[in-house]
């Protein structure tokens, strides 16, 4: 079998006595699009933070194309090709949209080449009219787009999206879903989302997190029919 | 043997004076997350308050133990109400503003008292340890430091004020929801921190004399003691004082007082590098 793009083995994160993520074994193939769902506090964001080097796992391992990145720095992981759009837009608020994209693009391109890449990306995320405005002054939805643009500009192999549709209008959600599908033609993605409609638009395979563990992993239709999943989303304690 | 006793007393004295000059700052930092760069000047004002009171005929004990804390405590409350309260949550701006306050106070006292050292002679005389003499006042400073730390422990542990303080320390919003008034708690806290600094400055005045820029001599030492100690006010101040005081005194014996001080500061920088959360960030986490 081919080496998976991303694999975690018994990945665990403790905060004091609290187990935010516990023994998670997760595998993602090259080019795959996976959705991650689960109630608040299920450990999804902590999981993402460990994948990107923002948190060091208590134990267990993260392998990226077979290479152990459990203890790598965030910037090293980014350079290997994992990009992340965080839950709350994490952008350079004091800089213009163009400056934001430029900073990302110039990590992989020469200064001259970067300017061209920036123009392309501005067009792709539809922010040409706002290119010279400060990102901090933009609406929430637009800042989400800026962050997506930033992440795409570093041309990663794997993109992690933490609630990309949160706070978006119905129209924006559809546009985002389209973009996610388009990105998936060339890149692998893991998407955390609560919006079931959005999941339906994009997902094939879904992993469900609950209380820091993987509850179930299945095709999207089966997940949506799964009574266990319905229970945890309705707030009932799953008999796990 | 006599030398050992003498050295032990000196080490204890170094620890006690470090704890004494730091505890006011520790209270303000631990409970309010405010780094008060005018801390050294609060100590200096305590010294002047005691000296002015004694030169007006007051008993030196009353001047040191009552007048100085009250005067500096009142100044602390005024400072909190006029400057600090506008800057909560802006830690760096608070540092800058209190640095400005420090310059202001140095200038003010220079204009009022002149740029010379004034002193009060240490009371209590001296006593003999074998071949060596040492002053009784040294023991007094150790006793005051012990008393202050014990007092803080008692207040934090057993009084309503201490409970409120711990609540506000943990979570200001939670405390507000329970009906505590954080602005008032903050003003009182800052006042108490300032008062203890005033006390420390007064108690140390007979040892070091007082002059407008004496705060500089104190400020770095008290900062690193507080930061080295970490967020827990009492156990942090105590543990960092023990560590740094011992290093300081032993280096002083081995070389000169100046290099004793340098060793202390250098040790502190290394400690902060190793334990960025301070000693109590790693050990004694549940301390007060």
């Amino acid at each position: 079998m081919a080496v998976p793009l991303l694999e975690t083995r018994d990945l665990t994160m403790h905060f004091g006595g609290v187990r935010a993520v516990h023994n998670v074994n997760f595998t993602l193939a090259e080019g795959e699009l996976r959705c991650l769902i689960g109630p608040n506090g299920a450990g999804k964001s902590t999981f993402f933070k460990m994948l990107t080097g923002q948190l060091e796992p208590s134990h267990g391992r993260v392998l990226f194309r077979g290479r152990d990145i459990s203890h790598a720095h965030a910037h090293e992981i980014a350079r290997l090709g994992i990009g992340i759009k965080t839950q709350v837009p994490n952008v350079f608020d004091g800089l213009s949209v163009r400056e934001n994209i430029w900073l990302a693009a110039s990590r992989i391109h020469s200064v001259r080449h970067a300017n061209g890449v920036v123009d392309e990306m501005l067009a792709r995320i539809g922010l040409i009219p706002a290119a010279d405005r400060l990102v901090g002054q933009l609406a929430h939805g637009q800042r989400q787009w800026v962050e997506l643009g930033i992440v795409l500009s570093t041309d990663p192999v794997l993109i992690l999206l933490d609630e990309p549709a949160a706070g978006m209008t119905h129209e924006e959600v559809q546009k985002t879903a389209e973009l996610v599908r388009e990105i998936n033609r060339t890149k692998a993605l893991i998407v955390v989302e609560h919006d079931m409609q959005f999941i339906r638009m994009i997902a094939k395979q879904v992993t469900v997190f609950n209380q820091g563990r993987v509850l179930v992993e299945d095709a999207v239709e089966d997940i949506l029919r799964n009574p266990l999943v319905r229970d945890i989303y309705l707030g009932k304690q799953a008999a796990a | 043997m006599d030398l050992v006793v003498l050295v032990a007393i000196q080490v204890l004295y170094a620890i006690a004076s470090l704890a004494l000059i730091s505890v006011g700052l520790a209270i303000i930092f631990g409970m309010m997350r405010v780094i008060n760069l005018a801390h050294g000047e609060f100590l200096m004002l305590g010294g002047y308050a005691a000296i002015v009171a004694t030169s007006n005929g007051m008993s030196i004990w009353l001047a040191m133990l009552v007048v100085a804390p009250i005067v500096v405590g009142i100044i602390g409350v005024i400072v909190e109400r006029t400057i600090i309260r506008f800057l909560y949550g802006r830690m760096i701006d608070t540092m800058l503003a209190t640095w400005g306050l420090s310059l202001f106070l140095v200038g003010l006292t220079t204009a009022m008292f002149g740029n010379t050292t004034v002193g009060i002679s240490a009371p209590l005389g001296s006593f003999q340890i074998g071949a060596y003499r040492t002053s009784v006042y040294t023991l007094f400073v150790i006793a005051v430091a012990t008393g202050v730390l014990a007092g803080i422990y008692a207040v934090m542990r057993w009084t309503r004020l201490g409970l409120l303080a711990r609540g506000t320390m943990q979570n200001a919003n939670m405390a507000a929801a329970l009906g505590v008034n954080p602005p008032r708690v903050y003003a009182i806290t800052f006042g108490v921190g300032a008062a203890l600094s005033g006390l420390a400055g007064a108690v140390l005045a007979p040892v070091s004399g007082v002059f407008p820029t004496i705060g500089v001599a104190y400020v770095a030492k008290s900062f690193i003691t507080v930061i080295g100690g970490g967020a827990a006010i009492l156990s942090g101040t105590a543990s960092a004082s023990v560590l740094f005081g011992t290093i300081n005194q032993i280096a002083t014996f081995a070389t000169t007082p100046v290099f004793g001080e340098v060793a202390l500061l250098a040790a502190a920088i290394v400690l902060i590098r190793l334990l960025p959360q301070g000693i109590t960030g790693r050990f004694f986490r549940r301390g007060l």
Binding site: T52, H73, A74, H75, A78, G83, T86, N90, V91, F92, D93, G94, L95, S96, E99, W102, L103, A104, S106, R107, V111, R133, Q137, I150, T154 | I35, I83, L87, M91, I92, L96, A97, W99, G100, L101, S102, L103, F104, G107, L108, T110, A111, M112, V216, V219, A220, F223, I224, I227, T256, V258, F259, V262, L265, A266, A268, I269, I272, R273, P276
Partner: protein, 357 residues
């Protein structure tokens, strides 16, 4: 008029005013005034070093005077030992830079937070002050240079034309050198900040975590910024030792550190011209206050002539009332006025860039 045009006009303006100042001052000003202006220029270079480190790099350095003092002491000691000034000058830049790199490595790679950075840098400069202050005895010497402790080192030989010991720089020459150095530093920093490196350090200041997640190692960039800042401060220190032919430990003192911070706060973080203006303004003010030092006993007058007192009030007032500093605040007002006038024609004027100045 767009920002790029404004930018070019600004640069040209600084160039023209600077060049005119450089050429005309010695012809029209008294020697005293030239001497005083020289020290203003030197201090402005020091102000620029902190403008880079703090204003653009976001590194809270409360002890920039450590590098300034090291530069001055290094120059003095090397000069007594070597005699020809090229080596001492290079050492006075290189040694503080190396020290900054060492300290920076210790702090940034130790992931020490902002606030503690301030306290550590402050402590470092106090350590230097204490150490140097206590080297008055004859046993403290480096080569033939005595450290002099609290007495300082007097009679430091001036810089000479490179390679020619017999051609020292005179007072007027010092003015030209200091002013030209300031202009070169200003334009050099403008270039640096417009480069890829400069834009990245501003990005890191804005959002360190984001920069990391894009693949930039903030530690490397902060370390480089801090080192450049140390080198610049050391260079200013070298010029300062030249200017007065004297250096003493007060150069490491808290008062000196506070001054540098005040220049940058007053002028504005995130600009270069601001700290220069702040530095020259404050220097002028303290000189004026010192000159008016009354001999009388009236303590109110004493107070008004008291530099720390006035500087303290200025610092508190700026933090509370003008936290962004003069230049950015005036810039905002200017933009606002422009927008008022241009409202019907151009409803969305381009907002201010983070790195104007």
């Amino acid at each position: 008029m767009n920002d790029r045009a404004l930018n070019v006009i600004g640069l040209a303006l600084v160039g023209v005013v600077g060049a005119a100042f450089l050429i005309l001052t010695p012809r029209f000003a008294e020697l005293d005034a030239v001497l005083e202006l020289t020290v203003f220029m030197i201090m402005a270079i020091l102000a620029l070093s902190l403008a880079l480190v703090w204003g653009y790099g976001g590194i809270l350095c409360f002890g920039q005077s450590a590098f300034f003092g090291l530069g001055a002491y290094t120059y003095a000691i090397a000069m007594f030992n070597i005699g020809e000034s090229t080596g001492p000058l290079l050492l006075a830049i290189g040694l503080p830079a190396a020290f900054a790199a060492l300290l920076g490595y210790f702090m940034f790679y130790g992931r020490i937070s902002d606030v503690y950075l301030g306290v550590i840098t402050l402590t470092v400069t106090l350590i230097l002050f204490n150490s140097v202050n206590s080297t008055a005895g004859p046993e403290f010497h480096i080569g033939v240079a005595r450290l002099g402790g609290f007495n300082g080192i007097p009679g430091i030989p001036p810089l000479n034309i490179p390679g020619n010991k017999a051609a020292p720089v005179d007072l007027e020459g010092m003015f030209y050198l200091a002013t030209a150095s300031l202009l070169a530093t200003y334009f050099g920093l403008r270039w640096l900040l417009a480069s890829r490196f400069g834009r990245i350090i501003v990005g890191i200041r804005e959002n360190e975590r984001r920069a990391e997640l894009l693949g930039y190692d903030p530690r490397v960039y902060k370390l480089a910024t801090f080192t450049v800042g140390g080198a610049l401060a050391g260079f200013a220190g070298c010029l300062f030792a030249n200017w007065g032919a004297f250096v003493s430990p007060t150069i490491f003192g808290l008062a000196q550190s506070a001054q540098i911070i005040i220049w940058v706060i007053v002028g504005g973080r995130g600009t270069l011209i601001g700290p220069i203006v702040g530095c020259i303004g404050i220097q002028w003010l303290t000189t004026a206050l010192g000159a008016n030092q009354p001999s009388g006993s009236d303590w109110m007058t004493n107070l008004m002539a008291n530099a720390p007192f006035i500087l303290g009030i200025i610092l508190v007032a700026f933090v509370l009332l003008v936290p962004r500093g003069l230049v950015p605040t005036l810039g905002d007002i200017g933009h606002w006025l422009l927008r008022l006038r241009a409202r019907p024609a151009a409803p969305s004027l381009k907002p201010k860039q983070a790195e104007e100045g």
